[in-house]
């Protein structure tokens, strides 16, 4: 099998501590953003530091996408939700759980990185999602 690749560079890391998102932390205003950018989107100061956040968080909002959105290459249905990560950053992200009866506000969630689809060269493409912890 061909080597797996990330869906886009600089989004996440996986190590012994689990999967974590690479957020930007602005030295000037102290706000976090994701994906990490060269310039802080809040205050326009350059040089935000890249900080890993997660893998633990809590579910804030959630729904299920039932039909395939344009360009999406993974399976349907899939979940989409907002997760508040430990460390002060909320992100909108795919959820592995599609049964809404198993989700509730405040539910502990955990970031996972998994193969979402196989690209045209046969390489598994890794993306991030949250699953109930």
């Amino acid at each position: 099998m061909a080597d797996a690749r990330a869906i886009a560079p600089g989004l996440f890391v996986c190590d012994a501590d689990g999967a974590r998102l690479l957020a930007g932390l602005c030295a000037a205003c102290g706000k976090r953003h994701f994906p990490a950018a060269a310039v802080c989107p809040y205050c326009a100061v350059a040089g935000a530091r890249e900080v890993p956040v997660g893998p633990a968080g809590r579910l804030e909002l959630y729904t299920t996408v039932l039909s395939r959105p344009p360009g999406y290459r993974g399976p349907v249905p899939y979940g989409l939700g907002v997760v508040a990560l430990d460390g002060g950053l909320s992100v909108i992200a795919r959820l592995t759980e599609t049964d809404l009866s198993r989700l509730r506000p405040g539910l502990p969630m955990r970031l996972v990185v998994e193969a979402l689809f196989t690209d045209d060269e046969g390489r598994p493409v890794l993306s991030y999602a949250f699953q109930p912890a």
Binding site: I7, A8, A23, K31, R32, H33, F34, P35, A37, C40, P41, Y42, C43, A44, E60, L61, Y62, T63, T64, V65, L66, S67, P69, P70, G71, Y72, R73, G74, Y78, L80, G81, V82, L89, S90, V91, I92, A93, R94, L100, P105, L116, F117, V125, S127
Partner: protein, 376 residues
């Protein structure tokens, strides 16, 4: 700054018209507005066209088809607020004295199906992050939690707007729907049902703005665009104008505040409102953000019959986007056309008696919001 008046208004019914080109749709609305204003070639000194999917020189092609090209002309894209942004630019041109009259129009033929947008980079599409209705659903879920809005309340908004749309010959859907029918329609993204979402479609609308008042003068008391909140434009940390970031004001709140100040009025002075109802929850959120009810009182507003024709402040008497459908570039100008007719007393069976002051509101991708206040 000079006073700006709506000197002419016209639109093309919204719907699906496979036999008509985008240029033909636009030409029909422009011809109607110019006819209403009683002007032709030479009667306006600049033109502004709102469109998102219209492509290169969409507005220029309309003017060329009508033999009206030759004036400075720009196409304006600001998501769902594109037509409102074009109008704000046109109003500024007249108010400043740069032009005595301008033509402002909007036109769109929306692609079918879930909206595809170059707003999302390819990796976001591949990852499933370009599911626009899901963002609406998450916003709806948050509103339900914070403002004690129930699923039935969301359905009530759809029932109201569809009932209003029955009386509007410019609407795409002119059929009343029952509460049970809305609730039983297919789930798109929980909690939103199909009849709680507007349909992307086709249409065009146009106005002439002028420094000289028309016979039944309608004044542009404010035309304000607010965009691109710091930090709330693109990243997954703050999608759709601050969904996950409550520390910042939304574009609608910012535009409304500025528009009320510019017009020298407050929400209590309004007689009717046309506002963004891309989905039923968006209407309730718009009501809150425009200050038409207290923050987080949207659920009660619905249950008290808020926005009904015949109530103190009718909202979306035209049927709104839920009944009219949403051609992005045209929707804001269609609101302004509707309100112009209302303020002139020409709105027929959906007329709000004695209306003197009205507000139009659009908000969309890129975190753009436009608020226009008209008065007579």
């Amino acid at each position: 700054m000079r006073t700006v008046y709506v000197a002419g208004a016209g639109m093309r019914p919204f719907g699906r018209f496979p036999e008509l080109s985008l240029t033909a749709l636009g030409a029909e609305a422009v011809r109607a507005a110019l006819g209403d204003a009683g002007i032709g070639r030479g009667g306006f000194q600049a033109a502004f066209c709102g469109t998102v999917y219209g492509g290169v020189a969409a507005g220029h092609k309309v003017l060329t088809a009508l033999g009206l090209s030759g004036v400075p002309m720009v196409n304006v894209e600001a998501g769902c607020a594109s037509g409102g942004a074009a109008l704000a630019l046109g109003a500024t041109a007249v108010a400043s004295g740069r032009a005595d009259a301008v033509l402002v129009f909007g036109l769109e033929k929306m692609p079918r199906g879930m909206i595809r947008s170059s707003f999302f980079e390819p990796w976001r599409e591949e990852a499933g992050l370009a599911a626009t209705p899901a963002y609406f659903a998450l916003r709806a879920q948050r509103l339900m939690r914070e403002s004690e809005v129930t699923l039935e309340d969301l359905a009530r908004v759809s029932v109201k707007n569809h009932r209003h749309g029955v009386a509007n010959p410019y609407a795409m859907y002119r059929r009343a729907v029952s509460l049970a029918e809305v609730l039983a329609s297919a789930v798109v993204c929980e909690p939103l049902r199909l009849l709680m979402l507007c349909a992307p479609n086709e249409g065009a609308a146009a106005v002439v703005l002028a420094a000289r008042p028309a016979a039944r003068p309608v004044r542009v008391a404010a035309a304000v665009l607010r965009s691109h909140l710091a930090g709330s434009v693109l990243g997954e940390h703050t999608p759709l104008g601050g969904l996950t970031d409550e520390r910042v004001s939304t574009p609608t709140e910012m535009a409304a505040r500025a528009a009320y100040e510019e017009a020298g009025i407050g929400p209590a002075d309004l007689d009717l409102v046309e506002l963004q109802d891309t989905d039923a929850a968006r209407e309730i959120l718009s009501v809150e953000e425009l200050g038409l009810c207290e923050r987080h009182a949207g659920g009660r507003w619905v249950r008290d019959g808020g926005g009904e024709l015949g109530s103190r402040l009718p909202v979306n008497a035209s049927g709104g986007l839920l009944a009219k459908g949403e051609p992005l570039g045209a929707s804001a100008l269609a609101q302004v056309v509707e309100l112009t007719w209302q303020l002139r007393g020409e709105a027929g069976p959906r007329q709000v008696p004695g209306a003197r002051t009205a507000l139009a509101h659009t908000v969309g991708r890129g975190a753009n919001a436009c608020v226009v206040i008209l008065s007579r």
